[in-house]
């Protein structure tokens, strides 16, 4: 099928992109790495989009420290996350998640901002973001706002981003001494979206668990977190089954995904040295 678009423009600055979005009359679509958007256009899922290409905006690239937070620009690519020293030191969860995303060719183009904005419930980064207690930075005609990751993902491919806004960065608290990050997932082939996955952060003896592929959005698994904090792995696995609400499809049933999540949690608990 041939993609049918309404127009294409290259934005030079964030302000320019916001202005273009405003002019597009609701048809504006940010084009970042194009690794999800172009596939969607070729599937004919939307027509007449006015593409606003942000790939040339230098301000959206790069990773930097800002006080006790790490700021990752929206255009930071999957392949950058794998090797960026700041990410490796202060948000290793992303460095561990990135190799699990797709394949080299896609990782060379796809961006963290695109992944977060797209909000695929099976994607790794959104779950990492909530496990890390990250904040999403949005810029729009009315200025800049910051929104906690757990409030950003509102449903299946839905976020709190308003139509005229651009996701400019994600910020995460710098990892503390002794903090542990683990991500595990089950995929039928390397690079596929996960059947189920968990991203876990252990900070000060407390656990935060972000689940992906296990609901209509990334889920913060509070029941399992509380049990794990008590060192109760069995309890955490039982609670996790309640925390998640997985879909059934041609790849796997909800029961399988729920079961897989439990196995992953046990393995993560073992990774973290939580007594069984």
């Amino acid at each position: 099928m041939k993609a049918s678009i309404g127009g294409y423009a290259q934005a030079e600055t964030v302000a320019h992109a916001i202005a273009l979005l405003g002019e597009a009359g609701g048809e504006g679509r940010i084009l970042a790495g194009g690794q999800s958007l172009v596939a969607a256009l070729n599937l004919g899922t939307s027509e007449g989009d006015m593409l606003i290409d942000i790939a040339g905006i230098a301000a959206l690239r790069g990773v930097k420290l800002d006080g006790d937070r790490l700021v990752i620009g929206a255009l930071t690519r999957h392949c950058d996350l794998v090797r960026d020293p700041l990410v490796g030191e202060h948000a290793p969860l992303f460095a561990k998640a990135a190799p699990l995303v797709a394949h080299d060719a896609i990782r060379n183009r796809g961006t963290i901002g695109g992944s977060l904005a797209y909000a695929d419930p099976a994607a790794e980064y959104p779950a990492c973001a909530i496990a890390l207690d990250a904040a999403i930075i949005l810029e729009g005609p009315d200025g800049t706002r910051e929104i906690p990751a757990r409030d950003f993902f509102t449903g299946l491919f839905e976020t709190a981003r308003a139509e005229g806004e651009i996701l400019t960065a994600i910020t995460v608290p710098k990892a503390q001494d002794g903090e542990r990050h683990v991500i595990r997932e089950g995929t039928r082939r390397a690079g596929d979206y996960a059947l189920a996955g968990l991203a876990v952060v252990m900070r000060d003896g407390r656990h935060r668990i972000g689940a992906f592929g296990l609901g209509d959005r990334p889920l913060l698994c509070q029941g399992a977190m509380a049990a794990l904090d008590q060192g109760d792995v069995d309890g955490a696995v039982t609670a996790l089954a309640q925390d998640v609400d997985p879909p059934s499809d041609a790849q796997a049933s909800a029961s399988y995904r729920r079961h897989l999540a439990g196995v992953l949690l046990r393995r993560i608990a073992a990774d973290l040295g939580v007594a069984p």
Binding site: M1, S4, Y193, A250, A252, Y256, H259
Partner: protein, 793 residues
Amino acid sequence: MTIRFDDPNRPNSYIGRTVPRPNAGRLVAGRGRYVDDITLPRMVHVAFVRSPHAHARIGAIETGGAEALKGVLRVFTGRDLAEVCTPWEGKLLHLEGMKTPPQHPLALDRACWVGEPVVAVVGRTRADAEAGAALVEIDFGPLPAVTDIRTALDADTPVLHEALGDNLCFRKANEKGEVDRIFAEAHKVVEASFKTARHTGVTLEPRVILVDWNSGDGEMTAHVSNQAPHMLQVLLAGHLDIPESRVRVVCGDVGGSFGLKVHVYPDEVATAAIAKIMERPVKFTSDRMEAFISDIHARDHEATGRVALDETGKILGFDVDDWTGIGPYSIYPRTSAVEGLQVTNLIGGPYAFDHYRCRTSVVFQNKGICAQYRAVGHPVAVAITEGLVDKAAAEMGFDPIEIRRRNLVADDAYPLTTAAGLKLEGLSHHKSLDALVEAMDYAALRAEQKALREKGIHRGIGIASFIELTNPSPFMYGIGGARISAQDGCTVRMDPDGSVVALTGITEQGQGTEAIMAQIVAEAVGVSPQMVRIVTGDTRVTPFGGGTWASRGAGIGGEAALQAGRAVRGQALEVAASLLQAKAGDLDIRDGIIVDADTGEERLALSEVGRIVYFRGDTLPKGLPRELMQTRHFITSNYPYAFTNGVQASYVEVDTETGFVTLLKHWCVEDCGRIINPLLVDEQIRGGIVQGIGAALFEETCYDEEGQLLNGTMADYLVPMSGEMPDMIIRHVETPTEESELGAKGAGEAGTAGAPAAVMNAINDAIRPLGGAVTHMPFTPERILRALGTITD
């Protein structure tokens, strides 16, 4: 003079060597010419409106909106095309009782599967045509869909084609001996049920056709991504009422086919019909989404089977009931009964036993059409056979290798006719099994498996012996009345500079046809392969032939090339003998030079023979033949098929908590007769194994109960990818066929035939101690956990 294949130091010994593929450079340089690369003057594009329903009555069709769109040239309905194109029925005369209704290029009154083309929209560009297609309104009246195989013949299941009376397309039972008595009296009877998933071919290049109708000449030219140009020529001519001689089919580079491109597709015939009506070139390029709903599917089989054994583990007989759903029409012209038919022939194929019963029931459904795809029927029959043999071994306490040793047909028992009625010329099951055991270091692997099991690591070893049908004679299609050629031909021509051009009826789809033809012709004539250019895939130019399918290219087309090449060699020697005042029998051609056969002394360059023949024929004796161009055709005659054999092994690890399978290693020992190019044969085996692994672990075309396709993109239809593939060790045994001088059988399908069974047996070997078994492909993590009882709801 015969070729001393056993002497690797013989002159011009290209047959049997790894020689680089002559077309690889061109393809790697991006200079291939696929059909979609061709643009003709006045060319337009067609897009199809396809049925979104599995089964629906077609009411009013409103085309006005599309016709009014700028860029849309014309819109065609089924009725429009029915005026210039006759319908077809995929039947073969020798398949008794077979039924299938007439099929048109565009559906007329009813749409019978999701994806069936209903309306064609022609535009200046593909985008224009698609935009027009989106505006066509069809009043569909949904009808109940038939989707389940086992209940297709039940009284309360709707009949898909009323005129046929029921949903049975074809049924055949193959029976020999006293099956009921043997099974009643046998020491041991083991039973199991099996499912092979419906899947599809997923060629890298989708189907493409570009048809031009030259009204001045009254001639049609079709550029098409296809395996059998002469077959298509004959069929297009017949259905579009054009003399065969006025249809030219050209198959240039083809990006994979696997059997998928050997069939007649309604959208392709529609494209040809439209070109004829509009008198201009029309192109149809399938996209990936269309491919999933319009390419043929295969292997939607469900079977129950039993094997009977005596107390020594000797197999007494097999009894199998196979069912397969083939969609709403039998494929044209090969029919959709052949996969089931092969199952009735191939069950128990490697083993010696006397009592046999296998029945196949081929039923209609409202899903995509199933048809021949790499290793037709073999993966189904091998999975059933080898699944039963391994289950019997486990229950009787035999090692899987040992039970096979006790039952494989002895290597010196040939020729023989099997209980299923197959005539076998010469196979090497025991030699192959011995080579496999050695290649895998079986005993060490078993020891490792045992040691790891104590640590809670569940590994399994799976073995699968198989036979594979290659080099078909007219017994496959010809006797059924289909104009599908089982013979093939090759014309070899020497040009003035001593270089050689060979034109062959077999075709290249990426497997290396051109490479092996160049090697064979080079050795036959006595020149280096670089001096040989190969021409394939043009019905105006090449000898009439069948094309490349059913693993026939090397065995049939290769022999024709060998004989044509030897004939040209003979001609060149005759001229040389006259020039040198020598006897032709005392001369030989080596690397392009005429030499003394005994001493190897160089006498004359071939280019000198070329110069004299083409420019100074006046200096040759009057009456001396001087045609440096010869054609030979070849057909097998002693055996209906040249069977090959082999054995595969898979080593896997099953994560019994998640159900994930890791493929650790795969082995295949295969006997395809004379090996022409070892590297290409290994590539064929490897690629075939990968497709077999796809069937075992990944590929499944899923429909819901209403016949809606649930997975139609590369994101949710999982093809096997390199990351999951194991290392593969390939070994060979060579038992050449005596039907031909070349002695080659086919090698293209063996990998696919055996791999699913080997992987299945390996998984079951791993999980058997935990009390589970899987027989329903693909073996997804979830199916494995359900077999283990881990998940029950």
